[in-house]
């Protein structure tokens, strides 16, 4: 198979988010979800379900704009959020509403709390530095569910194991683009080597700020954040919490030393109290 990633004039199309990005097994890959161009078509949700054979999650009417999916779950690995914001912007004068649409996904965190707390080793980091559950290992202990600061991973009812986005591990191994990015008609979901995506995002946010879109912000692009940067990061048009995302997520395991130290001190305290109260009064 020939991969065409150059235009007829020789320009690198992958930098524009077109064509199959080139990546190799030593490279960290991820998603850059640019919500400013999302049209809310949900092609990503459908493509993900189809490719990964994710079961139905019910026919619900949530009365949340055009969103009847609700949130990411064991059976929803891409979720398109719809926010209708009242606005006085003359461009939206007719509807009086500004639309925010965003396709959410597992962040494939650099410091992935889910992976760190997993007691069976079911969750692991792949050669592409993505975070994946091995379904033949997971015993459904549920620890990862409580550890994820984004509420991504969850237990599947009736199955008992946990499920989430694999960043299409099988497709990656075949040198392909993940199903959602492949299906996205607007390049709102861009896939590629993370370094490249970060550069592209930096250019995009600068362009938006130049256009006067002051609220536009990158979310998860900074390796210095509480989870060491996301493997799947976003460009948002409002505060993260508006989209149901935590504004300053921190991997819980960053405090592990504090916790183990406190527990060790308390354990010795317990031993000391027991010794003092039980052995303290030796009488014949």
């Amino acid at each position: 198979m020939t991969i065409i990633d150059r235009g007829s004039d020789g320009t690198d199309l992958t930098l524009q988010g077109i064509g199959t990005p080139r990546y190799d097994r030593e490279q960290r890959v991820g998603f850059f979800t640019d919500t400013s161009i999302c049209i809310g078509c949900k092609a990503c949700e459908v493509a993900c379900k189809e490719w990964n054979d994710v079961p139905a999650d019910g026919l619900n009417f949530l009365a949340r704009s055009y969103d009847n999916t609700g949130h990411l779950s064991a059976d929803t690995w891409r979720h398109v959020a719809f926010v209708e914001q009242p606005t006085t912007d003359p461009e939206s004068a007719r509807s009086g509403v500004r639309w925010l649409m965003s396709s959410d996904v597992c962040k494939h965190c650099t410091s992935a709390a889910c992976l760190e707390v997993c007691p069976t080793g079911a969750l692991f980091r792949t050669e592409f530095e993505t975070v994946v559950v091995q379904q033949d290992i997971c015993n459904g202990c549920g620890y990862c569910v409580s550890a994820c600061p984004f509420g991504v991973i969850d237990q599947r009812k009736g199955d008992g194991r946990v499920w989430k986005c694999t960043l299409c591990y099988d497709r990656l191994r075949g040198g392909q683009t993940p199903a959602c990015a492949q299906a996205c008609p607007t390049q709102s979901i861009q896939f590629g080597p993370l370094e490249q995506l970060r550069e592209r995002a930096a250019a995009r946010i600068e362009a938006l700020h130049d256009q006067g879109v002051d609220d536009a912000q990158l979310y998860g692009d900074d390796p210095g954040d509480g989870v060491g940067g996301f493997g799947a990061f976003f460009l948002l048009l409002d505060k993260p919490e508006v989209y149901g995302l935590p504004p300053d997520p921190v991997s819980t395991t960053r405090d592990l030393r504090t916790m183990f130290n406190a527990a060790t001190a308390a354990a010795f305290g317990l031993l000391g109290i027991a010794a003092a109260t039980l052995l303290g009064q030796r009488r014949g």
Partner: protein, 328 residues
């Protein structure tokens, strides 16, 4: 018309997934602590030379740890895969570390119990007794780790009411396990009365009282710390609010009341194990046990409650990014 999305979250939806853990995990927090505390009473009795109490404590420890194993497996999504926990030793996973602590504790306690039974059915005492003693004392040395790792298990999550309590939870659990062990010691010596002239009888009573005091004190410190983590919300101004509404409020209040009255009753019964005060002490011990169990359930449910309201997740994070002084 579509309702406005509140600035706090997406249609008021939770950010986090609630823990998948159900009541068996809360119950295990109690029974695991009870096993740990009781193992200490047993080891002390063994060292003291009180073989009757030591044997009773060993049986009680084994029952508590057996029930604990049942609770832990019951809560798994795939029970037949419980042994996958033993595939790895993973220092970043408190559940993995805890699995190994649990395994070592139960092996030592089990070896001790088996040797004791062995002696009854004819194994020579010179073989059986050292195993009984070493197993029992060994398990008691691991016991404190068994009692406190569960605090790290809860704290090492994104659950606000658990993670923010990370410095105090181990002390609450240590106090709770100490109180439970002392209370179990009182009950066991009520069933098999000790020689009143033996000073050892006062041990479990003191242990129960000091343990309950630590439990209540550390619990109070934990609530204070949680109240210091502001959310910026008017209804639920801080994470401590997870404890002051709904079922956690009832459970926490009942836990406090039971622990305090229980400990007071035990103290009132006096230090000596006399027939006159024996029932009073036993009643106090039952209250102390109830207090310890209720405390675990209160913490468990407060944690769950703190995941279902996005205010506890978004509020402190937003304040962290934009401290109140800098807000417009």
């Amino acid at each position: 018309m579509v309702p406005d999305a509140t600035p706090m979250s997406y249609y008021g939806q939770p950010i986090l997934k609630p823990p998948t853990w159900k009541w068996p995990i809360a119950a295990y927090l109690f029974t695991g602590g009870l096993a740990a505390g009781t193992s200490l009473v047993g080891a002390a009795a063994r060292l003291h030379g009180d073989r009757r109490l030591a044997g009773a404590a060993s049986a009680a420890t084994m029952s508590a740890i057996g029930v604990s194993a049942g609770f832990l497996i019951e809560d798994l999504g795939r029970r037949s895969r419980f042994h996958h926990m033993l595939r790895v030793v993973k220092i970043t996973s408190p559940m993995s570390v805890g699995t190994w602590i649990f395994s070592i504790f139960s092996s030592l306690a089990g070896a001790s119990a088996v040797a004791e039974i062995g002696e009854k059915v004819g194994v020579p005492a010179r073989v059986a007794r050292p195993v009984t003693a070493v197993g029992q004392v060994g398990s008691a040395l691991v016991g404190p780790a068994l009692a406190t790792y569960t605090a790290v298990l809860l704290a090492d999550t994104a659950v606000p009411a658990w993670h923010e309590a990370r410095r105090d939870l181990p002390w609450v659990f240590a106090g709770s396990a100490t109180a439970s062990g002392g209370a179990m010691g009182i009950l066991l010596s009520t069933l098999a009365p000790l020689d009143p002239s033996d000073g050892f009888a006062s041990g479990p009573r003191r242990m129960a009282v000091v343990g309950a005091a630590l439990e209540v004190g550390a619990d109070e410190a934990m609530h204070r710390r949680l109240r210091a983590v502001a959310t910026g919300d008017t209804d639920k101004p801080d994470i401590g609010a997870a404890y002051t509404s709904g079922s956690p409020r009832v459970l926490a209040g009942a836990a406090r009341a039971a622990s305090v009255t229980g400990a007071a009753t035990v103290a009132l019964a006096g230090r000596r194990d006399r027939p006159r005060t024996r029932l009073l002490a036993a009643a106090g011990a039952l209250l102390v046990l109830a207090g310890a169990a209720l405390e675990r359930f209160a913490i468990f449910h407060a944690g769950k409650a703190s995941t279902t309201d996005p205010v506890y997740t978004v509020g402190p994070q937003r304040l962290r990014l934009v401290p109140p002084a800098r807000r417009p």
